[in-house]
Symmetry: C2
Subunit: 363 residues, 2 copies
């Protein structure tokens, strides 16, 4: 029931094909986007930022889903790899706007995009604002590039409209989820429910990280929209587990000696981890956590104490166990789809491959 050996061998080439395609897009289209000497360094920074080492989870899931569901064309086929490029561009665009919103200085072991722009401006007064503003519009520019790349993907004609529609719906979901994220961060934790956080994860993360890549890969392989719809119950728990693990990893990186880098805490982000910890703390500890989440800057001592509180609450272990359950649930849901055995085995294999390929990375 495991997929053919050729599938696995071929897979080794996928990550390299994605990297080459990302770089090739920026090189091949440089003359279309030659807007003069002021823009040129921005284009260069955008290429560097987008091609910087990252997990490539979304493009890889897309390619793996395509192959698992019956697609046979080689990875470097322009009509295939363009879909992968579109998904990574979409992700990079979201990261650029996210970093402006969260005032994060670092991304993927380098400066965030607005910081790259700021650094180019030297000692100019107001350069922080110029950096952020430029990042907003360069994010929009990259959004356009994602659409351009998607349009180069060879979806079979009867489902092309469905593929594009899926992509647009997922863009809308992501925007709505990000808005929910910002509004929940601004609300006192005592007034936030776990269900609101889970919804936010579904819209903000699951849609564009799992649903769009898996469904678009399937559409490209020629699987019908109706069959792909049956994958959704399996996708939902996968997305939730992914975001929870992301939060756990983010929390593990909290460094009290650099309180300014704990942007999730400073922004008062309502993650499931923070919420679960809050629920399990005593009244006194709750008040302290509440106060820290509502404050716009934190001392080393406060970050240290928040870390201790979350650790002692037991929320980390609890959520880790839940992630295992969610993945098991996804596997069971997958078994109940009308896919054939080879397709099911292929998808499971694809998910494992993407997971192991990306486990070591941070973003």
């Amino acid at each position: 029931m495991t997929p053919a050996g050729a599938w696995t061998n071929d897979w080794r080439e996928a990550p390299g094909a994605v990297e080459r395609a990302l770089m090739a897009y920026f090189n091949d289209h440089a003359s279309r986007f030659a807007y003069g000497e002021l823009f040129e360094p921005l284009y260069h920074d955008l290429a560097e930022f987008t091609c910087r080492r990252g997990k490539r989870l979304r493009p890889l899931l897309f390619l793996a889903s395509y192959r698992a569901l019956g697609g046979t064309r080689p990875w470097n086929d322009p009509g295939i790899i363009s879909g992968a490029v579109a998904l990574e561009f979409l992700h990079a665009f979201i990261l650029i706007h996210d970093d402006v919103i969260d005032r994060s200085d670092r991304r993927r072991n380098g400066p965030s995009f607005h910081k790259l722009v700021e650094e180019r401006l030297g000692k100019l007064s107001g350069r922080e604002m110029v950096g952020r503003n430029t990042a907003i519009v360069m994010g929009d520019f990259l959004f356009a590039l994602a659409l351009d790349a998607l349009a180069r993907t060879d979806f079979p004609e009867p489902v092309r409209a469905a593929a594009q529609g899926r992509f647009y719906q997922c863009l809308a979901d992501t925007g709505a989820g990000e808005a929910q994220d910002i509004l929940l961060a601004a609300r006192d934790i005592s007034r936030v429910t776990e269900e609101e956080i889970a919804q936010m994860y579904r819209w903000k993360t699951t849609q564009y990280t799992f649903e769009a890549p898996l469904l678009l890969g399937g559409l490209l392989a020629g699987v019908s929209v109706e069959v792909l719809e049956t994958l959704k119950p399996a996708i939902e728990p996968l997305g939730l587990a992914f975001q929870i693990e992301n939060d756990l990893a983010e929390f593990a990186r909290v460094d009290p000696t650099q309180p300014g880098r704990s942007t999730d805490l400073i922004e008062g982000k309502k993650t499931l981890l923070i919420h679960r910890a809050y629920e399990r703390l005593t009244e006194l500890d709750r008040s302290f956590l509440q106060m820290c989440l509502n404050s716009s800057s934190l001392t080393e001592g406060s970050v240290l104490k928040v870390r201790e509180l979350v650790r002692k609450s037991g929320a980390v272990q609890e959520l880790r166990a839940e992630c295992e359950k969610l993945r098991a649930e996804a596997h069971i849901c997958l078994q109940h789809t009308p896919l054939d055995d080879a397709q099911k085995a292929g998808l499971l294999h694809a998910l494992d491959l993407c997971r192991s390929n990306t486990a070591a990375e941070t973003v």
Copy 2:
């Protein structure tokens, strides 16, 4: 050689059809975008902001171009009016991000979008930041809605890809133009050339305000891409004249008693008007203008003096005369296209209709 009477009669219905379609989109799709009680007021604000009284220049140019170039379907045909909705959504999305970037509080006789969000937050600390951040992602959300509306437009199948490609290129151009705008604003005026400003206008304004509506309208009417390409030399001067007149109108509204509202001056925006005035001033007056453009806040006295300097430079009259020349140039270029006489007359008529319909409005 003037178009048939029916064309003109029918046109009276176009502005109303656009308004109804904008409102109908938000109503008809409310259940698709029902992301819970936190999001609902944002969706409501987005609908109010987008449907607020405006010139509707882009949707009207699109519809006029469609009819002038041979399209015969009624305005309320869903496959036609969706293109108009897409162009107005695109414009509203750009306005939302622009107002965040320029920190403008007002738009179309009401609060800008980030101010709407901020007002809903009451006395919450940090509400300004929450308003701006929410506006960034809600702008992205509206971008997705624009794409969704565009996908509902009935472009004839052989040119659908060309229409979408044109739209994406125009999105990229607009982003690049906005980036150029921000970077020129950050540069001292003595280091900015008129050519750099004219380029910025072409990318930032002409593409999505004139080229996209006119070309998309033509494609929908069934005119070939090749023929539509010949319109570009006529479109270029139209866009430049439009942006210059926009700057002149903006300048006429400068109110020294409210220096905080002169956001173009405070942001140091390099308009052709400001640049032309600078070129014509004495050394001493230049230094003063330069200082004001580089300052991040202005007094009533400074705004008053800048207004006097620009007025006495003669740049206003000079640019007004240039706009007339640019429009005449556009008319001549249009005569040199391979369109037939009725199409040429129709397009000229269309441009006049849109101009008179929008002359009284501000945005």
